[in-house]
Subunit: 118 residues, 2 copies
DNA sequence: ACCTATTTGTCCGTATGTATG
DNA sequence: CCATACATACGGACAAATAGG
């Protein structure tokens, strides 16, 4: 897997780990359906704690890049610029709007009123 | 503060904590500018670990409900900030969609077809 | 300018729970 | 039933930012 992280880098380790996975997705060395190493294995190979890896994985899951399930591991569900990521963003947007008491009609209006290059 | 969580509830403790804060915001017992108890204090009063409280706070921060800064604590964000954050999310979404060659009409359809609960 | 206390951020380790295969 | 793998929670340690004296 030859991934590396640097403990002296001011960027947090979990962010570095998420970064190398994102890069692998972008470069095409990871494809939809591929399984990422188990947290335990990757932690050992990077010489970091299991939690640090799992935190990185959860970040990637929140971004809609991987699916994370107990007993199964982490599976790539989209490329870095995929449509399912857009779906995740739509979900987040809707949740946020609901928290603010903003209806979908208003949300749609916001989108349509946004300038093309904005 | 009289907040309570239940360790036997299947809902994770950090989610319960985030929930009671959200409810306090919704009920108007917390207002923009108000400072939440420090993680240490709330952890003690709820009889949970400090990290559990901080995880709840970070979730609320990710939702745009509070601002979280070292040394200062957790402060309820002004409602206007929440809306402007929503605007930023809309911009991101539009950019991402354009990158994928997805039209705004299609974006709007995605939003309207999303399940109501999210 | 300095020092100290406070508070969140990260990381480690351990234990236990839960879903999957 | 058993092994694997993520999820949650606890605890401890140290770092970094902030606030106040």
């Amino acid at each position: 897997m030859l991934w590396r992280v640097d403990p002296r880098d001011p960027e947090p380790l979990y962010a570095q780990i998420a970064g190398v996975v994102r890069r692998a997705l972008g470069e095409g060395t990871l494809h939809p359906g591929d399984r990422l190493p188990s947290g335990k294995d990757l932690a050992k190979s990077l010489d970091v704690n299991l939690h640090t890896v799992l935190r990185a994985y959860q970040e990637l899951r929140d971004e809609g890049l991987i699916e994370l399930r107990r007993g199964r591991g982490a599976v790539v569900i989209a490329s870095g610029s995929g449509v399912s990521r857009l779906g995740a963003m739509v979900d987040e947007l809707i949740s946020q709007a609901e928290r603010l008491g903003i209806s979908r009609e208003e949300l749609v209006r916001m989108i349509n009123e946004e300038e093309a290059d904005a």
